[in-house]
């Protein structure tokens, strides 16, 4: 009797988990479908593509990522330029943020040296640095500082000022999460390692860094997200000649709403993709953390 009831409960559970999956998909689609329906309804009623284009016009733009837009290049070109700026700037943020975070997390003296200035600079929005960066770096590009003045390569579109604000936006999440990761290393693991013969250097490389790695990767994910937001804003400002942010601003000026909306969607998609790639790496290396009590 009891086993029959358990079996029924088990079946019930399986049935429920099947329902749950379809539920998740259905639930995820409800709101976007409602938005699209309302959008299409108003687009047809307004009948003004400069104000609100029809859904199919935007989809048509998205379906042609290699087509030149407004004589500025294709979506793909603008995205590659924006992404290159972000990746280069973010690599700088990682190269400085992670080592500095490790040192600040580990050594009280370094912490005291850096934490006041970081606390002052942190609340200052990276966008606020753009005018300053324009004055200092003008419109110099990476290609130019390597002595190549005229170039068709991607480096001709990576302005130093933009690199600086991306670095600034990405640095703090990376740095602060690294510090947090190092400070949260369990004392018992440090003491165990010391009692098993680890010297200071080994303790750092074999215990503190691996233990802090999940937090560092969280920092990378957040930092990359911030950098992606910052670049879009930076590209909208004067001095910009390419990039997906530039494209949507230019579309605004020419009242090309379908290009603008499709561009926004691509910005969201690329941002989500960047976040997903880091999350995949994080899941690979931090598998032990989620399962720890």
């Amino acid at each position: 009797m009891i086993s029959a009831r358990l079996e029924r409960q088990q079946m019930n559970l399986n049935w429920r988990s099947g329902i749950k999956l379809t539920n998740t998909i259905v639930l995820a689609l409800i709101i976007p479908i409602i938005i699209v329906v309302i959008w299409e309804f108003f687009a047809v009623r307004l009948d003004n593509p400069a104000l609100l284009p029809k859904v199919e016009a935007v989809i048509d733009r998205l379906a042609h990522p290699f087509t030149d837009l407004l004589n500025t290049g294709s979506y793909l070109r603008h995205i590659v330029i924006s992404a290159s700026r972000v990746i280069l700037g973010f690599i700088l943020a990682m190269l400085i943020g992670i080592p500095l975070g490790l040192l600040v997390g580990r050594y009280v003296l370094v912490h005291r040296l850096f934490s006041p200035i970081i606390e002052i600079l942190r609340p200052l929005c990276p966008i606020a640095w753009i005018p300053f960066a324009l004055v200092i770096f003008k419109t110099y590009t990476v290609a130019e500082i390597f002595g190549v003045r005229y170039t068709t390569s991607i480096f001709g579109h990576i302005q130093l000022g933009m690199l600086f604000v991306i670095f600034y936006g990405g640095f703090f999440p990376v740095f602060l999460n690294t510090v947090h990761g190092v400070k949260s290393v369990k004392n018992i693991l440090i003491e165990s390692a010391l009692l098993l013969g680890a010297d200071k250097n080994q303790l750092f490389r074999k215990v503190i860094v691996p233990s802090a790695l999940p937090a560092i990767l969280t920092g990378l994910r957040i930092g990359l997200g911030v950098s992606w937001m910052v670049i879009i804003a930076a590209e909208m400002l004067p001095g910009s000649d390419a990039g997906i942010g530039y494209l949507i601003m230019f579309s605004y000026e020419l009242a090309e709403m379908d290009i603008l909306i499709a561009g926004m969607m691509l910005i969201g998609a690329v941002g989500a993709m960047l976040s997903y790639v880091v999350k995949l790496i994080a899941d690979q290396t931090s598998f032990w953390q989620a399962k720890e009590r």
Binding site: I188, E191, A193, L195, K206, E292
Partner: protein
């Protein structure tokens, strides 16, 4: 031959309200080479503090601790400690946890794995080489912790209630395994517990501690041949004897 010598140590802490708390006061004992020493006492009597002092993780406020007549300063390189809480490196699998100390000595991966495998077999975890700590039960995790400590090849093995979080059946099995390892490896062991039964089953000698402040009030040599029968008269008599000592400590302290 005296191996470990603890001589008149005192340990004080600064409390929450800046008052001085004496955890251990004027404590001395000797330990022979190859001895299995158990330390029992009520909770908070300074057993763990004592073990941390022997390991060199903390410094005594006064007195000295020496091994083979060498006074310990800083970390004790001849000893390693198995903690009560799970202390495995969660990002390393079993074989890499056990091989940790060998890696620190820059032993090649091949030789490291060969040696780690020996200890894996010794603690009965064959087949779990690639498992991660989160995939193991509490008992298995402590087996790995013991194997990891043995792979360091310390002269002195310190254990701080290593089986405290385990159920009784697992605890008894691990006690038997630990005894077999001790007889096989001929290490000197200092084992801290608050479980009288555990101490009687394992120890060649038991030191009983009192609290406030922590000190040793009784040393009992356990002359029962191994394997010990928990139901034998001698075992039960000693059990009652130690229980009476501990109860006396608690009642005098309540007054």
């Amino acid at each position: 031959m005296v191996f470990l010598k603890v001589d008149g140590i005192r340990k004080t802490f600064v409390g929450e309200h800046k008052e001085e708390i004496t955890a251990i006061s004027d404590l001395s004992f000797h330990c022979e080479e190859g001895e299995f020493l158990c330390i029992v006492g009520p909770t908070g009597c300074g057993k763990t503090t004592l073990l941390r002092l022997i390991a060199g993780l903390d410094k005594p406020s006064a007195g000295t601790i020496s091994i083979d007549n060498r006074i310990i300063e800083g970390l004790n390189n001849d000893a390693t400690l198995v903690f009560q809480q799970y202390s495995l490196f969660p990002w390393r699998n079993v074989i890499n946890n056990i091989g940790f100390s060998l890696e620190m000595k820059h032993i090649s991966r091949k030789n490291r794995y060969k040696e780690a495998q020996y200890y894996i077999n010794l603690v009965g975890l064959k087949g779990f080489e690639k498992a991660y700590p989160y995939e193991l039960s509490g008992g298995m995790q402590q087996r790995v912790a013991i194997a990891r400590a043995l792979a360091y090849n310390p002269k002195l093995l310190l254990l701080d209630e290593p089986f405290g979080a385990l159920d009784e059946r697992t605890r008894h099995r691990l006690q038997e395994e630990l005894l077999a390892l001790w007889q096989d490896q001929k290490k000197t062991v200092v084992f801290v517990t608050h479980n009288i039964d555990e101490a009687l089953f394992l120890a060649s000698r038991i030191l009983v501690m009192r609290d406030r402040p922590g000190n040793i009030i009784e040393a009992i040599t356990v002359n029962i041949p191994r394997p010990r029968d928990r139901r034998s008269k001698k075992f039960l008599d000693l059990h009652i004897g130690i229980r009476e000592i501990l109860e006396r400590i608690l009642t005098t302290n309540r007054k």
